[in-house]
Symmetry: C2
């Protein structure tokens, strides 16, 4: 039997959806829904297609992220969102780590209850305005004075798009700390296969039946492909012309936006 590989993703049983750049473009405390993405989610729910959101978003806790999205017209529950902070908290508890948190204040609720006195590691997220010279030096100072420095970064993205332009992402700051301290960070978030696995566990589907949709060819598409899924690149968010050729492997499909993905999928299922 001949299988057209370029169409295989249309036979998937469920979706993992990136949030920023796929559902909406962020801009500080608000943002703008990407045209068609609200309808796309409605269509998936109407047709009982299972999905979860998987994001490296570390600027707010899941509760506030859901509220922010719902204000834009989405209908999303916090429990549908797989985000790095809860995974990091799990790691910290398992290993008895006390973090210095180089993060934005609005994600702090995820870390409530952790011991942060006399830190023996640094956890960083997209701290935005908290990426001040002073805060970065405090994180550096914690690491350089540890015999076994542990740096955990919520994602390793290079940049992302806000409505007023591209912004440097946590990965760039993380590389700076790695270089200054001569260490390697541990990443929690896409493209880490363990992070994708947490999303698959939540979805309850096998990796080879799941389609990841994202605007980042490396972290979303290639990351999902390495974890055994199919990866579809959408030309929204931070997508720039030619991105489909900039990863280690080409996407299973390249589509204009999420609504295009969902319509093609539902059409094929008819």
């Amino acid at each position: 039997m001949h299988i057209d590989m370029s169409k295989k993703w249309l036979e998937g049983k469920g979706f993992l959806l990136d949030i920023t750049g796929v559902l909406y473009d962020s801009c500080g405390a608000t943002g703008t829904a990407i045209p068609g993405s609200i309808e796309a989610l409605q269509l998936l729910r109407q047709h009982h297609v299972p999905f979860r959101f998987i994001t490296n978003e570390s600027t707010s806790d899941r509760q506030h992220l859901a509220v922010k999205l719902n204000t834009l017209g989405f209908e999303i529950g916090a429990e549908e969102i797989i985000a790095p902070a809860p995974q990091v908290v799990k790691i910290l508890r398992e290993r008895g780590l006390r973090p210095f948190l180089l993060v934005k204040d609005t994600v702090l609720p995820e870390f409530a209850g952790l011991n942060t006195m006399n830190p023996n590691c640094v956890v960083m997220g997209d701290a935005q305005d908290n990426f001040s010279y002073e805060n970065i030096n405090r994180a550096f100072s914690v690491l350089i004075n540890l015999a076994q420095p542990v740096l955990i970064s919520m994602g390793c993205g290079r940049y992302y798009k806000e409505t007023d332009g591209l912004k440097m992402d946590v990965g760039a700051y993380c590389k700076g700390l790695e270089y200054a301290c001569g260490i390697q960070a541990e990443y929690c978030g896409k493209p880490d296969p363990r992070f994708f696995q947490a999303a698959l566990d939540s979805l309850g589907l096998e990796s080879d039946t799941v389609v990841m949709v994202g605007d980042d060819v490396r972290n979303d598409v290639n990351g999902a492909q390495k974890a055994g899924m199919m990866g579809v690149l959408v030309q929204t968010g931070k997508y720039r012309t030619g991105d489909e050729g900039r990863g280690e492997k080409r996407p299973d499909a390249v589509m204009g936006n999420l609504l295009g993905v969902v319509r093609a999928y539902l059409d094929a299922a008819k």
Copy 2:
């Protein structure tokens, strides 16, 4: 004839001296002279041993740096200092580059008269408080929107010591921008051989007769050795136990401080 390599540096004809961590420990606008370093320079001048200062310092122009040092008791002329900013200005003029300057305000006098409208490159130094999230994103935005991004960094240091602790250096921020943009910066400063050559030209001596004294095994000592000089590591400034073994090559000598270097040199010349 047997030459004891470990003593060869004592036969040098002149010195290049690092400033921060060798003459003084910096702390914001002031700092503290490292014990013995004022006397060390006096001894070199008394004995007519030629020397220059070679620094990756990019937080102020040479004039203000000399004034700052002289306030601590040194007697240094701005013209004795080889610093990255004047070398960068030369490069910018030669290549017709218009920089976005991610630098500290106090180094701006070195860049006076350059066209900075509609920038087609980024020049970065140790911007300290100017390494704000906003400024870094402005630099990132310039680079990511250029067809041929040019990033010039005044040094690639990992960290340096201020009196209140170790601080992340420009190299770490530069690595972050490199990662975010997927580019390689051009470095101006130690350990670039062209930068050492500018200092040798000023000194008027051949490389193999010159001894570099610094507290950074990679940028000072190994950099000088690669440029054909001898390199002596001093255990002041940011020196940490074991640093002599952390470079690509061992220093020609390891001494307690600059005064120890100068006394040993003058004793050997007797």
